[in-house]
Symmetry: C2
Subunit: 202 residues, 2 copies
């Protein structure tokens, strides 16, 4: 199927890896399979990635970059709370439309963060987008409050995204539709919590 010669094997490995993860899950990902599908010897990929984890770290790094781009391209709004809502929406949209990438970033199969600083640099950048949006809610807040709120929002987003795709929720016999009802309501509750807390300080 991939008879023509591969121009850039390093890039081709990443593309093929994503396909394999999409088709068979991350457990089934093997460098040998990548090589086989690209019509190349089983050792060729090792000339570009020292081992399996290095390849995964590179993929995750790009996922974070792609994720940041997606968050940055949300609709503009000059109302900070509306903007935060847009951000939440963009977050979940990403988790739903690119479940592979999302689970690579936030699933438990993440490569050891300490070993891959470039990967984590991209991760911090994504988090800073959320912090910036929360800062605009109330610029009189100190950095701790902002971080606390950011972690709160991120936790809920992360939790909902996880529930949405981990087919766990599908097995809970819920009477309510997740995407159309539960998620918007949950976003409402985040807004309520943040507004109440801002009012408290005022």
């Amino acid at each position: 199927m991939n008879a023509e010669k591969v121009i850039n094997l390093g890039e081709a490995c990443i593309e093929e890896a994503l396909k394999i993860v999409a088709e068979q899950g991350i457990e089934q990902l093997s460098l040998r399979d990548i090589a086989r599908r690209l019509g190349v010897s089983h050792q060729a990929p090792y000339k570009h990635y020292a081992n399996r984890e290095h390849l995964l770290a590179e993929i995750v790094k790009r996922c974070f970059a792609d994720f940041s781009n997606h968050l940055d391209s949300r609709p503009e709004s000059c109302h900070p709370m509306e903007d935060l809502g847009n951000l939440g929406h963009a977050y979940l949209t990403y988790a739903l439309t690119k479940p592979l990438q999302y689970s690579l970033m936030f699933g438990s199969s993440l490569p050891d963060p300490g070993k891959y600083p470039e990967m984590m640099k991209q991760a911090r950048h994504a988090f800073s987008i959320l912090k910036d949006a929360i800062t605009r809610l109330d610029d009189k807040k100190n950095i701790s409050e902002i971080e606390i709120n950011a972690l709160f929002v991120w936790s809920t987003m992360h939790g909902m995204a996880g529930i949405l795709q981990n087919h766990v929720a599908g097995q809970l016999n819920l009477s309510v539709d997740l995407k159309t009802v539960a998620i918007p309501k949950a976003l409402d509750r985040i807004r309520i919590a943040l507004e109440a807390q801002i009012a408290n300080l005022a």
Copy 2:
């Protein structure tokens, strides 16, 4: 080290599997290694578990049962909101003191839920504990509202737990301590959101 004969190999496999996961992570778990450490042939475990995934499903099932027990043994309280706070505390305590078990249940390495109904039965039971606590907040609410709130609370809990152990947060250069500051504040925000929403309906 385990020279004396194993009495119940099925149980011994599970114990040894948990040890291996604790020592080396779930990726390193192999049935052959379990067999070797128990001083038994490499095929012996297969007489008790058809394959690797069946063993994992059995482990996860027990984790959910243990999790439910832990949630049920939280301090009693006749104030529903306080009880929900205790529940949240118990949830996070479990995630922090038994990170292995927690990540087995909620990590991405979960065995296919559809294939293991017994496992999911235990999962539903754990979820029902949360639903019950939320029902007591306002017994005039309909089932949908309760489920929505339960998902909201669960999402935030799940997200925070994930952030707490996924070493992701440790790499974000946060200025605030997670356990002592950020988590209690986040629980506050959950309470605020739920109270505001109950007041709205009243």
